[in-house]
């Protein structure tokens, strides 16, 4: 393959050429209630070519038939030549690299039978079904994937990697009369078969919580001091701030550049935020991005002040900054765009108990059912919550929806505990039609001075 790629590069008439080829073996086993829904193994393969010429734009070709590679290089070149630009696209420099990364696959999933995978997820599903008191439906999904990945470009980058991934997810639905509650477990790891075992507690816990939520009251809507658990805090920083720090949002837009001017204060000195594609062993971790730029730890907010953003080679060149290794594509079907990797709120000080000790009445919001941001506005649904009364966690509450304005909310983060953890969840991030991209989020417990909480927007 390496020879085929070098050959295609050499023959390319374009000024700049990059080629990606991927082969993916995936299998999936899913249960719905006690019933097996699917047990399948699939193979996906294809290539991607992107070229640039002087005075011209990007020419791109994606294809599933690998014999077409030489022809596709020519197509991409012709497309690039058809796009005339007054202002040329330039790419920030990246050092030439040759790299062959075959990680410890931690038990190659390709050597494990579908039947074994079925037994594993059937076991987790059974734990959820076995929780008494109202579980009426479950969903449990095992998914694994190994991608063999090649990347070459005409500036001397040549990469070959094996990328393993394994995800486990569970949804337990509890019902009592008209009340329906859900519990969600989700685990996503850039690892192999050996890491799929040992997750019994997580599956059982979410089913038990779904049952407990049946009798829990809805949180009374209103403004409270709110403490986010590490999972929700991680989702919050990814959704509400991370996307704004992606340079493709600002690089062509003078008003957006102004809004995101480096040096602008976004929060109090307790708040430090970053994105680290090089953090060891996480789902968003890779040695290089899909433009051959090494990944790195990029600090975005340092002690409350905006100090960085995430770049591709194109956005970095345009803004006179350095590429950060954040140009990622979900597959050969797509061009790389600026994306997050492992996004975090850095550790603070003290324990969870310290954080809530002086809250007379507040909300402890835990886990995430979902979240969406529309630039400066966001809405997040916590999996569950607890009231905080007289400095202690009290009764379970449900329908905890946090909504607000990003700028106000970031500025109201007043305390951050010292109990940082990465949340190794499945799912993924979506942007520009590319979903799901494997990412990780991490945070400690975070306290927001005041936020609007409502399950119900009572009129």
């Amino acid at each position: 393959m390496r020879d085929r790629l070098s050959d295609a590069l050499r023959r390319s008439p374009a000024q700049y050429t990059e080629i990606r080829v991927e082969r993916t073996w995936a299998s999936q086993v899913s249960f719905r209630g006690p019933r097996l829904e699917t047990a399948t193994a699939s193979e996906d393969q294809g290539g991607f070519v992107r070229v640039l010429n002087p005075g011209c734009g990007w020419g791109i070709a994606a294809f599933t038939s690998l014999e077409q590679l030489p022809a596709m290089v020519v197509r991409a070149h012709e497309l690039s030549r058809a796009v005339r630009l007054d202002e040329p696209i330039t790419l920030a420099a990246v050092p030439p690299t040759e790299s062959d990364v075959v990680p410890d696959l931690d038990g190659d999933v390709r050597g494990v039978s579908l039947a074994e995978k079925k037994r594993l997820i059937e076991g987790y599903n059974g734990l959820m079904l076995g929780v008494s008191g109202g579980i009426v439906d479950t969903q449990a999904v095992y998914r694994d994937e190994i991608t063999e990945y090649w990347y070459v470009n005409s500036e001397g980058v040549a990469l070959h990697e094996l990328r393993p991934e394994i995800t486990l997810s569970g949804t337990a639905t509890a019902r009592h009369d008209g009340t329906i509650e859900k519990g969600l477990e989700s685990i996503g790891l850039r690892r192999g078969w050996k890491s799929a075992a040992g997750h019994e507690k997580g599956f059982r816990d979410v089913a038990e919580r779904a049952v407990q939520l049946l009798d829990a009251p809805s949180v009374a809507g209103g403004t409270y001091p709110v403490v986010l658990d590490p999972e929700l805090a991680g989702v919050f920083i990814h959704e509400a701030f991370g996307h704004l720090s992606e340079a493709d949002f600002v690089y062509e837009n003078p008003q957006a550049r102004e809004m995101m001017t480096l040096g602008r204060r976004f929060g109090r000195p307790v708040l430090t935020v970053g994105d680290n594609g090089a953090a060891a062993g996480l789902r968003g971790t890779l040695p290089f991005d899909d433009e051959g730029t090494p990944t790195q730890d990029t600090v975005l907010i340092k002690e409350g002040v905006l100090v960085g953003r995430l770049h591709s080679r194109e956005t970095a060149a345009r803004m006179g900054e350095r590429p950060t290794g954040n140009a990622r594509a979900i597959s050969f079907r797509h061009p790389p765009i600026v994306r997050m990797t492992n996004t975090y709120i850095a550790n603070g000080k003290g324990t969870f108990d310290d954080l809530i000790g002086d809250i007379k009445l507040g909300v402890y919001a835990c886990g995430a059912f979902g979240g969406q941001t529309m630039l400066e506005n966001f809405s997040f649904t916590a999996a569950y919550g607890r009231m905080i009364r007289d400095g202690k966690p009290a009764e379970l509450v449900k329908d905890v929806v946090l909504a607000g304005n990003l700028f106000q909310t970031l500025d109201r983060i007043e305390r951050i505990a010292g109990d940082f953890r990465w949340n190794q969840m499945g799912g993924g991030c979506g942007k520009g039609g590319q979903f799901p991209l494997p990412v990780t989020e991490g945070a400690p417990h975070v306290r927001i001075e005041e936020a609007l909480v409502g399950g119900d927007v009572a009129a």
Binding site: A26, Q28, R32, R35, L36, T38, A39, T40, A41, S42, E43, Q45, G46, G57, W58, G59, I60, A61, A62, F63, T64, L79, S80, V83, R84, L85, D86, A115, K118, D137, T173, G178, I180, K182, E252, N253, Q255, A256, E258, M259, F369, G370, G371, Q372, M374, L375, E376, N377, F378, S379, T381, V401, A403, G404, N405, G454, D456, V457, A458, A459
Partner: protein, 444 residues
Amino acid sequence: MISGLIDLVRSRGFQADALRRRADTTSISFESGRLKAAAVSEQAGINLRVVKDGRVGIAGTTATGDAELESLADRAAASADLGEALALTFPRNAPHPPVVTFFDAVADVSLDALTDIGREVMGRLARDGVQVNVTIEREVAETEVANTAGAIGAYITTGLTVAADLTRIAGDDVLMVYDYYTGCGMPSATDLDALVASILTRLELALRVVPPPEGALPVVFTPQGLSAILLPVEQALSGKSVLQGISPLAGKKGQQAFDIRFSITDDPVVSGRPGSRPVDDEGVPSAALPLVAGGVVRNFVYDLETAARADHGAQSTGHGARGIFGKPHIGYSNLVVGVADGPPPGETRVFAGGLAAGISDGLVVDDLIGVGQGNVSGGAFSHPVALAYRIEKGEITGRVKDAAVAGNAYDLLQKIGGAGNDGRWLSSRWSPSLLLEGVSVARR
């Protein structure tokens, strides 16, 4: 091509069906006013389902050479070994209705012609202080479906999408407005006029920010804003929801569940829409299916598997959809949402369909945040607005921020206050704006 695969699995003694899809796309993107990239994509793949010893197995691949078909069949058989027993019956061959899905003008369009459309739209949307992006995508897709019971189907669709978005940032206020044209044929001058007008109207109305109203109010949901209201109903009309016991409409077939004027039809044979096709992805011929008529629940949609699992003799309604990977599932084709005595679509579309005129204090909801989050099935929703406008004394007076709307779709659809004259396709759903009464609107 696909018949060879069917022969291969038949020779192994399996029943089977398969879908092959090949899609070629050409797209161009304009970023911040200039053409930045042109792209092509050529993708093909096969999805195979076998029934082996009464058990169902699935496999998919994008490696479609003859050599790979054996391994595809092996994987499908291995999947079936683990599968549950299911009395799946594949349809026999039957005539397919004529459906227009292919337009020469789209198949033959040049890159230059696409670029000209992009430049025109770009130029008409350009404004100071506003970033405009436009993408145009042309697709030509071949679909083949066949099974061991003899059903075969093959058709080619063309598709063209012109999407435009506009971002305006003023201080910390971020406003985004977008719309798109999509269809099997080329957009007419009227289609492009409507696209430009839709975006500019909503931009201009949004420049003034006004305080949100509060209380139980009349709210106009635009075709786009209606998604939050229609999502639970679409889910509930799926035979799979009925089977799983989570459809609030289960057992209500033949009963009045909505306003007497309200109807929903799934129409795969309408001419030239993205969901149009002569046959579904499981070889069942297409036909329009009334789901709700006169407010009465008429039908639920089924694919082969859900019909086989339903214990009341359900048949596939021709709503099997499948991708290259994973198993076939239920999917709508084109959903037509109507109101019986609603006005006919006007010559030029008026934003909110002219429904604001009769409202003294209310809201127009065009886009909400977080649709699909939480417990959709019960019909209850509660969302902050992404793009909404205030109505005062019959006029749209400006954009509201920091407001949220809540209600229950089933309650609200009991009484429809009116339908707009702005009925339109939004991808594969047609609807006018709907005026719904008593929606909770809260400031935050």
